[in-house]
Symmetry: C2
Subunit: 246 residues, 2 copies
C-alpha cells in the first residue's frame, strides 16, 4: 500500500467551534492545536518568546482569583478588556518588555483558555497562532498523529481569523503525504486561506472581532497577531501547565 | 438614517452545524432556511415540484414507524440508504414520476428532518436547496426578518455542500441593502461560494458526502442536487407540516 492510501494517512479536521469539539474528538491519541488568533494564543506565544518559564491556563474567573490570592502573576481578559485588579490581559504586546522572564504566569480569557481546558483529554495539546505557524506545522508532522485544529471562536460562534489560521496549517501540512485525509471543514478552511493569504489584514476587514478590536484601538495588536513566524517556540500543554517545547 | 446603518439591516448568519443552532438562535422572529443539499431538502423540493400536497417531517424512526402503521406513505433514510420496509428514501429522482401527486407524505432522514425539528420555534422555517435557490432568496427578502441559514451537515459535522448553498444565498440576498449585516460564518460561506460557483460539481470532488454518494452510485442524484433553480416553490413549515408557498 502506498502512503497515499487512507489507511496510512492522518486525519486532519478543523473544529469550527469549541461547542463542536465533542463531535470531532473521536481519537484521543491526536494532536489538538488550540487557536485563538485574536488574541489569547498569539499572546501565549509572545509570552514564551519573551522568556516566561510556564503558563497556567484557567477557564474561569474563580480559578484566576484563587491563583491571584495565592500570589501568582495573573492575567484575565473578558470581552476583550483586562479585568480590573489583574496584572495583564491578552495583548501580545504586553509581554514585549520581558517583565515576566523566567516566571510562571496564570491566564484566563473569554474563549482561548476555555478551549485549552476542553482539549485536555487529548494526548497532545499545543498552542497555535500565525506568529508560530511554521513551528506548529513542524511539530504536528513530527508527532505524526491525527490532528484537530480547534478554533476557539467567539462565545461558541464560528470566526474568520481562527479558521484562516487552521486553513494555513492544513495548507502547509497537507503537502506531506501523511496528512492528506482532510475533512470537509479542513477543505473549506484551506480554500478560505487561499483567498486570504495575500492580505490577511484586508481579508479580515469585515470580520466581527477585527471590528470589535478596531473600535477599541487595538490595531497594533491586530497587525502583530497577523504577522507570520515571529517565534519558533511551540507552547505545549503538560498536565495543567503550558511549557515551551524548546 | 440610511438603510445601510446596522440598526435597519437584517442579520444574516450561517449556522455551520445543527449542534450550534442554540448558539445562533437568539431572535425567534427570524426566517430559518433548513439546508441539506445531499439530499433531504433537494428531495423535499422535488416532491413539491412533482405535486405532493404536504410533507410531515419527523426526526426519529419511532415516529416514522408510527405513521407507517397508521397507513401513511412514509419515506425513511439512514446513512444514505432507504430503511427496509419503507416506501421511499431521500432521492429527489424518486419523486419524478409524480406517483405522490396530491398526497401527504411523511419523511425522516439522517440529518435534514432533525434540523427541521430543531428550527420549529422560529417564526418562519423554509426548505432550501440549489434547486429552489432563487425562490428561497425572493422569499427571504419579502419576509424581511433576520436570517439563519441552518446547515444540516453530517451528524453534527460541518459539510461543504450545505455551506456552499448558504454562501449562494448570502451572495444573492446581500445585494439587497436590508441584508448586509453579515456574521463571520456568512462572510466565510460567501467566499467559499465565490470559489466554487463556476463548477460546484468539481469543487465538491473532495467532499466527504459527495464521495460517500459516489461510492453508492448516486452520481445522478448529485448532479440533480447541484442544478440551480429547477423549482420556484418554497416549501414552508406550518405547525408540524411542510406545505408549498404557492
Amino acid at each position: 500500500m502506498s502512503e497515499e492510501s487512507s489507511g496510512n494517512t492522518r486525519k486532519v479536521e478543523v473544529v469550527p467551534s469549541p461547542a463542536l469539539f465533542p463531535v470531532y474528538f473521536e481519537n484521543r491519541d491526536c494532536t489538538v492545536v488550540v487557536i485563538d488568533v485574536f488574541r489569547a494564543t498569539s499572546a501565549i506565544c509572545a509570552a514564551f518568546e519573551s522568556g516566561i518559564e510556564s503558563l497556567i491556563p484557567v477557564a474561569t474567573m474563580e480559578e484566576a482569583i484563587d491563583y491571584k490570592q495565592k500570589g501568582f502573576l495573573v492575567g484575565a481578559e473578558r470581552n476583550a478588556e483586562i479585568v480590573p485588579g489583574f496584572d495583564f490581559g491578552n495583548s501580545p504586546l504586553g509581554f514585549m518588555d520581558g517583565q515576566f522572564k523566567g516566571k510562571t504566569i496564570v491566564l484566563t480569557t473569554t474563549n482561548g483558555t476555555r478551549a485549552v481546558e476542553m482539549a485536555k483529554p487529548a494526548s497532545k495539546v499545543v498552542i497555535g497562532a500565525f506568529t508560530n505557524l511554521a513551528a506548529v506545522c513542524d511539530y504536528i508532522e513530527k508527532e505524526d498523529k491525527d490532528v484537530l485544529l480547534l478554533c476557539a471562536g467567539w462565545k461558541d460562534r464560528f470566526n474568520l481569523e481562527d479558521t484562516l489560521f487552521a486553513g494555513a496549517v492544513v495548507k502547509q501540512i497537507s503537502k506531506n503525504l501523511r496528512f492528506t485525509n482532510l475533512s470537509d471543514s479542513s477543505i473549506a478552511a484551506r480554500h478560505m486561506y487561499d483567498s486570504a493569504e495575500a492580505d490577511l489584514f484586508e481579508f479580515l476587514g469585515e470580520s466581527s472581532h477585527r471590528k470589535r478590536l478596531s473600535r477599541m484601538n487595538m490595531e497594533e495588536d491586530i497587525i502583530y497577531c497577523l504577522t507570520l513566524n515571529q517565534s519558533d517556540i511551540v507552547p505545549v500543554l503538560e498536565g495543567n501547565v503550558i511549557v515551551s517545547n524548546k
